[in-house]
């Protein structure tokens, strides 16, 4: 982290809205990409990004180490994503509309190949978060362990399991050999 960024974070911690806006400019892509990968919906990703930055602005005083800003911001995004995914899951549990009739046979359905973005949505939120932080955001296992507050071994197993599940989804119906 360069000195300019460190200075911006410190200024924002002292209540400077201009400095925080500079941080938004710098990290909006990072935040939006993570949110979009997690929920696969542009509008929802926008909402999550906005919510994350507002939450970050008001919680910035609690950040003790300015050098941990990126990990801290990523943790905020992850938590908001979990909340949104849980809410979406609850809505799906109690559908208000009649479900659309599926005319495909199970065999036909199983042979449908998913895109990587669709396949990502089939993972559990925990596995999805781990793989997104690693392959989309490029964090190390150690960083992911800190962001998701789980042991290093769990990070390793979640990423491995997530990749295997994604591989199975992508190669569904194809000959693996």
């Amino acid at each position: 982290m360069n000195q300019e960024l460190h200075h911006l974070i410190k200024e924002a911690q002292n209540g400077s809205l201009e400095s925080f806006e500079a941080l938004v400019t710098q990290y909006k892509g990072h935040v939006y990409r993570q949110a979009y990968a997690m929920v696969n919906d542009k509008m929802e990703a926008e909402d999550i990004s906005q919510e994350a930055f507002i939450k970050a602005y008001y919680s910035l005083g609690k950040l003790e180490n300015a050098f941990a800003f990126v990990s801290w911001l990523t943790r905020i995004v992850s938590n908001i994503c979990y909340d949104h995914i849980q809410k979406a899951a609850k809505k799906k549990t109690y559908p208000t509309e009649q479900p659309i009739e599926d005319h495909h046979s199970p065999i036909e359905a199983s042979s449908l190949q998913l895109s990587i973005k669709e396949a990502l949505q089939t993972l559990t939120p925990e596995h999805r978060a781990a793989i997104v932080l690693r392959d989309v955001q490029g964090f190390s296992y150690q960083d992911i362990s800190g962001i998701l507050q789980i042991p290093l071994g769990t990070v390793k197993s979640r990423i491995n399991a997530a990749r295997i599940e994604l591989k199975n989804e992508l190669l569904r119906g194809e000959d693996l050999e």
């Binding site: 809205l17 925080f20 806006e21 938004v24 400019t25 909006k28 892509g29 935040v31 939006y32 990409r33 979009y36 990968a37 542009k42 926008e46 990004s49 906005q50 930055f53 507002i54 602005y57 008001y58 895109s115 990587i116 973005k117 990502l120 793989i131 997104v132 690693r134 392959d135 989309v136 190390s140 296992y141 390793k156 197993s157 990423i159 491995n160 990749r163 295997i164 994604l166 591989k167 992508l170 190669l171 693996l176 050999e177």
Partner: protein
């Protein structure tokens, strides 16, 4: 695949998260195991696909402005709710309270004077009432005469009014405009 002791480390190997010993073990195994090598290629493909599909994702153009507006609105709301924590927040109520106290002190002499006057009138009224009851008790004949005289006066007044009413009608008729 479960018989391959290092398969769970393939992802960590791809991510360069193994120490040198583990890395060498994996490399040796992949060199000799076609099945694990295939798995390695698949997992590497998944990693690359994720990278390729999300690397170009950019935040929408309006997001920054949207966040800025939301922050300004939130800041204004917070300022509004915390306005009462201003250091001079007790100044205005104190001034108003002081002014009320001063007004009360200034009006005390006036209020006291009026209170005295009202009290005096009340005392006089009570004394007069007491005197009247005494007279009624002590001089019943005199009171009887007075009451009779009053009745005569009231009746005489009533009779006069009855007599005057037709007279008033005569004058009213006289003031009507002539139709001739």
């Amino acid at each position: 695949m479960s018989n391959h002791p290092v398969v769970s480390n393939i992802s960590a190997y791809i991510d360069a998260e193994l120490d040198s010993t583990q890395r060498e073990q994996i490399e040796d195994h992949l060199f000799n195991c076609r099945e694990c090598l295939k798995e390695y290629e698949h997992l590497l493909f998944v990693k690359e696909q994720l990278k390729v599909n999300y690397v170009d994702i950019q935040a929408p153009a309006g997001l920054e402005k949207q966040i800025r507006m939301a922050l300004i609105t939130e800041t204004a709301n917070v300022a509004l709710y915390t306005k009462e924590k201003h250091p001079f927040r007790f100044l205005m109520p104190s001034i108003v309270f002081g002014a009320i106290i001063l007004m009360i002190m200034a009006f005390i002499p006036i209020v006291a004077t009026w209170f005295n006057i009202i009290t005096t009138f009340f005392t006089i009224s009570m004394n007069m009432f007491h005197a009247t009851t005494l007279v009624l008790n002590k001089l019943p004949i005199f009171v009887g005469v007075i009451v009779s005289v009053l009745c005569v006066i009231i009746l005489g007044s009533a009779w006069s009014i009855i007599r005057l009413l037709p007279t008033r009608s005569f004058f009213e008729e006289d003031t009507q405009p002539s139709t001739r």
